[in-house]
């Protein structure tokens, strides 16, 4: 990880309040992996004070792209960065997604702009012979990740809360048909969504990870026998330093409080203490 002053080469509005910043930085492009994030300063002054973590959306040799939704004052400043401007970046940071060498079929769930790291992951695994299903949920059709930005090899399905596009309801309701097909589940989005992914993916009838830790999630007598299936979740969390120092971004795990910035943002579903998170 490094402190990098990266030049904005393009700023594309892809959804309401949502911009993709293409940053020129060979350092970031070389080092970044899907699931990692870049911690971005909001400007040269100390107001707003803290940097904002933005997950890596696309990785190229010459830089990275970040998907930035203006949800507050700081992210609005970052989302408005214009081509030619320089952005103060700290990164790449955090533990990336891992894909087992034997894995062939990945199902991914993105809630809102949580789709960003999954696009990076899909682009990473597709050339390596994997099949990908991407399920994306949003409040309304306006906030659905545009289909033309999804790599063509990906099977793409959409859910909206108001039913204005695709399935009417939660994105997690699209998951069950793919659970037996997939040998890995990857998700990023709001914590309640991740809890639902975890519940669905770790439930015995859906071929769960045969781990004693998943006992808590068994709704009935479990049918073991399926091979272990990784369920990897990228958590969203407010952060201070993002260097593992301030201990402000912790989540409760089976090994105690862990830092989302350093021990995450990608966690294994069965590591997380959902009874305290959801």
């Amino acid at each position: 990880m490094e402190l990098v002053r990266a030049r904005v080469v393009a700023n594309e509005a892809i959804m309401p309040d949502t911009h993709v910043l293409h940053l020129e930085s060979a350092e970031l492009g070389r080092a970044a992996a899907p699931g990692q994030f870049v911690h971005i300063r909001c400007g040269p002054t100390w107001e707003p004070l803290l940097r904002r973590p933005m997950s890596v959306y696309r990785i190229r040799r010459e830089g990275v792209s970040l998907m930035v939704r203006a949800v507050g004052e700081g992210s609005a400043i970052i989302a408005a960065s214009q081509p030619g401007e320089v952005v103060d970046c700290l990164g790449p940071l955090g533990k990336p997604f891992t894909v087992a060498p034997t894995s062939r079929r990945l199902v991914m769930l993105g809630g809102g702009y949580g789709v960003a790291p999954l696009v990076a992951l899909a682009e990473h695994v597709l050339p390596r012979g994997r099949e990908v299903v991407l399920l994306v949920g949003a409040a309304t059709a306006d906030y659905v990740f545009p289909a033309d930005l999804v790599p063509p090899e990906v099977e793409y399905q959409v859910a909206t809360m108001d039913g204005s596009l695709g399935h009417a309801g939660y994105v997690t309701e699209l998951l069950p048909p793919y659970l037996d097909w997939a040998d890995g589940v990857y998700a990023c989005g709001p914590t309640p969504m991740l809890a639902a992914v975890s519940r669905a993916a770790l439930t015995p009838r859906n071929a769960l990870v045969p781990s004693p830790l998943s006992q808590a999630w068994r709704s009935g007598p479990g049918g073991a026998g399926s091979p272990p299936k990784p369920v990897q979740l990228a958590m969203e969390q407010h952060m201070g330093c993002a260097m593992g120092v301030c201990l402000g971004c912790v989540v409760r795990t089976r090994h105690g409080y862990q830092r989302v910035c350093r021990d995450g943002p990608v966690f294994s579903a069965e590591e997380l203490c959902w009874e305290e998170l959801a």
């Binding site: 990880m1 490094e2 402190l3 300063r41 100390w46 107001e47 707003p48 004070l49 803290l50 940097r51 700081g74 700290l90 969390q237 407010h238 201070g240 330093c241 993002a242 260097m243 593992g244 120092v245 301030c246 201990l247 402000g248 971004c249 912790v250 989540v251 409760r252 105690g256 409080y257 305290e276």
Partner: protein, 342 residues
């Protein structure tokens, strides 16, 4: 060649001394155990590193949410999550012992006995250059009161630690008191080699949609540029009342802020929250200070200490401050203006 002198001794009356290459430290809780920022920052050039606050036993800390951004600042209620004394001695101190930069271990206890145990066991441990007594963490509730809340208990902790350890002692004072001057005097009298002013200011933020406090611990400590004017005032007042060196802590982000503390009467500063935003802040201040002194023709950083102090009818200058040089007289014309320009 003789550039300006940046060296300071924060424990001039302690046999071991606490001699730093420059007066810019990094504050406890804002730099981990020192190793975390090594990939980004040449930590050996720092004046000193104050470690994360440690306790006798490991602490897992408070439930989240633990932090919130506020206007020009942040609230935190981490709850002293730390690896505990044993692991500091076995895992961290051996690393520190190889460093040139001194590491001051910030210690925190729920009882005087715990402070005593920490002080005894850290005494003589290679890699530990001094102790910072955290008698002022607002986020652990041991009976709801802090040792730094009143002069008697602050002095009692300081006395016990003084007796248990020969290490230089820096007492970190709480700003959440009516009269910080009385407490500073009390810990000086009890044997503190220097004081750091101040810990975070207690505050809170309400989640108005959920209609409840946002931070799980309800109250939290405010830090960052927002607190600086409050703490500068405290340093200014304490500097008139004690002889031991003062370390100013609160919202230091740049050279100008550091100069403000020095001119108020601090011998050194700690950079805290600013590390989270720009991890190179302390190094930039050190370089800036060297250039500033050179440009102004000032031979020693000590000459800046207390320059802004004024004789006031209701705030008489202490004899110690008069002895520090440059205090009652106006700053030389060359120093006026630019210092607060920024």
């Amino acid at each position: 060649m003789g550039g300006p002198n940046l060296e300071v001794d924060l424990a001039p009356h302690n046999k071991l001394g606490l001699r730093l290459g420059n007066p810019v430290l990094v504050a406890s809780g804002c730099f981990g155990y020192g190793t975390e920022y090594e990939p980004l920052v040449d930590i050996q050039r720092l004046g000193a590193i104050c470690s994360k606050g440690i306790t006798v036993r490991p602490r897992e800390g408070n439930p989240p949410p633990r932090i919130a951004e506020t206007p020009s600042g942040m609230l935190n209620a981490i709850g002293l999550q730390n690896v505990g004394l044993q692991r500091v001695i076995s895992d961290k101190a051996p690393i520190w012992a190889r460093w040139r930069v001194p590491v001051i271990v910030n210690i925190s206890g729920e009882s005087i006995g715990e402070f005593e145990e920490l002080a005894e066991r850290l005494d003589g441990v290679p890699g530990v250059a001094g102790l910072e007594l955290n008698i002022s963490c607002p986020n652990i509730s041991a009976g709801g009161r802090l040792f730094a809340d009143d002069a008697d208990s602050a002095a009692a902790v300081t006395r016990v630690v003084r007796a248990a350890s020969s290490l230089p002692l820096m007492a970190k004072l709480s700003p959440n008191v009516t009269d910080i001057v009385a407490i500073a005097r009390a810990v000086e009298e009890a044997g503190a080699d220097c004081v750091s002013i101040a810990n975070t200011l207690v505050g809170m933020v309400i989640d108005v949609e959920a209609r409840r406090p946002y931070i799980a611990n309800v109250t939290a400590g405010l830090s960052g540029p927002a607190v600086r004017p409050v703490v500068v005032r405290m340093v200014y007042e304490v500097a008139r009342a004690v002889r031991v060196p003062i370390v100013g802590v609160g919202g230091v982000t740049c050279l100008r802020d550091a100069l403000e503390y020095l001119m108020a009467g601090a011998t050194a500063v700690q950079v805290g929250t600013a590390n989270f935003v720009n991890p190179r802040t302390a190094l930039e201040i050190i370089e800036g200070l060297r250039d500033y002194l050179t440009e102004k023709g000032i031979a020693d950083v000590a000459e800046l200490v207390g320059l802004a102090q004024r004789e006031l009818p209701n705030l008489p200058l202490s004899p110690s401050l008069k002895g520090r040089g440059g205090t009652v007289k106006l700053a030389p014309p060359s120093l006026q203006g630019r210092a607060l320009g920024g």
